[in-house]
């Protein structure tokens, strides 16, 4: 029996594999995310494929209070007029609303570095995506185990 894919099916599988490979997952997510995090990342990346690297995402492996999880993002960049980070998007894949924050940098920032505290509703993957002035996009992700969810009751 021949199994043929139509163009749309092939494209969907291809994009999924690309996303999984890019984001460093070995398995595709079992449950289709309905919070729209993939679209959020794709929109931010503006058609570019995010490359792993240059983004250092600091998060605890285990967060005992999901209501306040410390996070630090540092992007390797000279922050000169010629080469600098313009924006960093932070996404919580497993939250009701995946958009955590978008940080805006310029050469005046001196360094593409920011720390804050975030809410995580459950154990999940957190992603940081950095966009450069030349349009290139870099990505890092970290899995955080959340013992007490932080989205409130």
């Amino acid at each position: 029996m021949t199994f043929t894919l139509n163009r749309r099916q092939a494209l969907t599988i291809g994009t999924g594999v690309l996303a999984a490979t890019t984001l460093g997952w070995s398995d595709l997510p079992a449950v289709a995310a309905t919070n729209g995090f993939e679209e959020l990342i794709a929109q931010f990346a503006g058609g570019r494929t995010p490359v792993q690297g240059r983004v250092n995402l600091d998060l605890p492996k285990i967060a005992d209070d999901g209501a306040s999880v410390p996070i630090t993002i540092t992007v390797d960049s000279p922050m000169t007029e010629q080469s600098h980070v313009t924006d960093v998007l932070v996404v919580a894949e497993g939250n009701p609303r995946p958009h955590v924050a978008t940080f805006h940098f310029s050469p005046a920032s001196g360094a593409a570095e920011v720390s804050t505290r975030i809410r995580l509703g459950q154990t999940q993957n957190v992603v940081a995506i950095a966009k450069m002035n030349d349009g290139s996009v870099y990505i890092a992700n970290k899995q955080v185990t959340v013992t007490v969810g932080g989205c409130g009751t």
């Binding site: 209501a67 306040s68 999880v69 630090t72 922050m79 919580a92 939250n95 009701p96 609303r97 958009h99 955590v100 924050a101 978008t102 940080f103 805006h104 940098f105 310029s106 050469p107 005046a108 920032s109 001196g110 360094a111 570095e113 920011v114 720390s115 804050t116 505290r117 975030i118 809410r119 995580l120 932080g150 989205c151 409130g152 009751t153």
Partner: protein, 108 residues
């Protein structure tokens, strides 16, 4: 309820080109609109959705906050010392009100 803001620069004087670190903490519930009260009614969203820092009138850093920023938002970032002047931190609430804090940097 009066909002309290705490701002700390790692230095008040810097040489041109050096990096200055800013830490700020603002007391705000950052209500997500996802919580319900005891009667089952949704507590309306009311959070600080924008943060801007300017030094001597020029923006050095800004951020868009969403529901996943923790209550009493803390932020730490840096700016490059270029000219002396006020360091103004502004947070914008969903309702349009703002919380403003100010420090000063002297650049030589």
């Amino acid at each position: 309820m009066a909002a309290t803001v705490k701002v700390k620069l790692d230095r008040t004087e810097a040489k041109k080109g050096e990096l200055v670190e800013v830490k700020a903490l603002v007391y705000h519930a950052m209500e997500t609109g996802l919580r319900k009260d005891k009667s089952g009614n949704v507590i309306p969203r009311k959070l600080l959705n924008k943060f801007i820092c300017t030094v001597a009138g020029k923006e050095v850093f800004s951020a868009d906050f969403d529901t996943a920023i923790a209550a009493n938002p803390f932020i730490r970032f840096k700016f490059k010392a270029v000219e002396s002047g006020p360091v103004v931190l502004t947070w914008v609430d969903d309702d349009g009100s703002t919380i403003v804090a100010q420090a000063r940097i002297a650049v030589s």
